[in-house]
Symmetry: C2
């Protein structure tokens, strides 16, 4: 039963905390946060309820910790993609969109946890909402960094458009055909970049392309 080579587990170890958080994360994501009670988390994690409340003072704190974990996970993978394709900005963006498209196309994909939790908890001051909001702002920030290397007139605008596109993909998995997401995202991004290189035109007129 005891784990880990260097004890680490016992006496103040983070082993129990990790097990709780991992179990809670899976249950929260698959079934929804409000649908999962702490008793279920405790049972599935094989820990005592007292342990849960020692490490996370409140269920709300556990929810926030869940989103923080997802946040770290997400940016960890994002950075992994960046590391593999960081040279050219366009290639990096395509790689990120490919990664996101693959992600939303997975059979058990259930949407972006940040968006889902935000939908479950409208109260603006809920601790989990702050995590979710920071996550979305971080996404736009990172996209802007990429956009600035893409030789467009208005990198912030492009970052906003790409943010909307990606968030849209997260919540639109239902309407995608098989493996449609990646192609859709990449072509859309390419169109937005191309348009962003021409001087910004008034939006009202069609301007009959070039």
């Amino acid at each position: 039963m005891s784990k880990i080579a260097t004890n680490a587990a016992v006496h103040g170890g983070t082993d129990v905390r990790d097990r709780i958080l991992e179990t809670a994360s899976e249950l929260f994501y698959r079934q929804g946060v409000r649908a999962v009670g702490v008793d279920l988390v405790v049972e599935k994690a094989g820990v005592a309820k007292t342990s849960l409340y020692r490490h996370f003072g409140t269920k709300d704190d556990l929810i926030a910790a869940f989103l923080e974990r997802e946040d770290q996970d997400f940016w960890g993978q994002w950075d992994g993609v960046t590391a593999r394709h960081g040279a050219d900005a366009k290639a990096a963006l395509d790689a990120h969109l490919g990664w996101i498209g693959e992600r939303v196309g997975r059979p058990n994909y259930r949407g972006c946890p940040q968006i889902n939790v935000a939908a479950e908890f409208p109260e603006a001051d809920h601790p989990a909402r702050k995590v979710a909001e920071a996550h979305k702002r971080e996404m736009r920030r990172r996209l802007k960094v990429i956009a600035e290397r893409l030789d467009v007139t208005n990198p912030d605008e492009l970052a906003g458009q790409l943010s909307v596109l990606i968030n849209g993909a997260f919540v639109s998995s239902q309407i995608f055909e098989r493996d449609e997401a990646t192609t859709l995202l990449r072509r859309a991004a390419a169109a937005l970049i191309a348009a962003g290189r021409a001087p910004t035109k008034p939006v009202g007129e069609t301007s009959a392309s070039c």
Copy 2:
């Protein structure tokens, strides 16, 4: 359904049912479905609990009815926009995007109810999820009808991109600056249309615009 105009209210009238549904809709949208109990709906609507359960056999049925109501409302307004700007396809699309942008920019905007409820109820067979899924498919279908009048090579692809963009706007209200949504949506749509008119190119290369 249409329950007659004359007496209407009393004796089998839809008055009580409407009041319940309207009250529930507002509470569900503002606070989240799971956060609102039937007791609260009953109290705010000023009806008896028995009446709620007579008209809606189950809370789940009430939730589904809520989404159906929102669905009808949404397409009613959509059709209103179409009626006012239906002549030119591009103008109609811009009008719809303006309407959506204005909608997501409202102070108390809380996201698309269909998306929110779907996030709250992961179970695939939940009655409300079916309504939500049908709603999203209907959106793509209608966008395709518009796309077909836009002289693009692949109307279905454009419809998919626009769907993602619109759904993204619904869940991205947090990251928008004041009144940014409409402009963002319209410029993005214009870019997608322009790109859709050129023959589809492989996505890998940048192709340096035109």
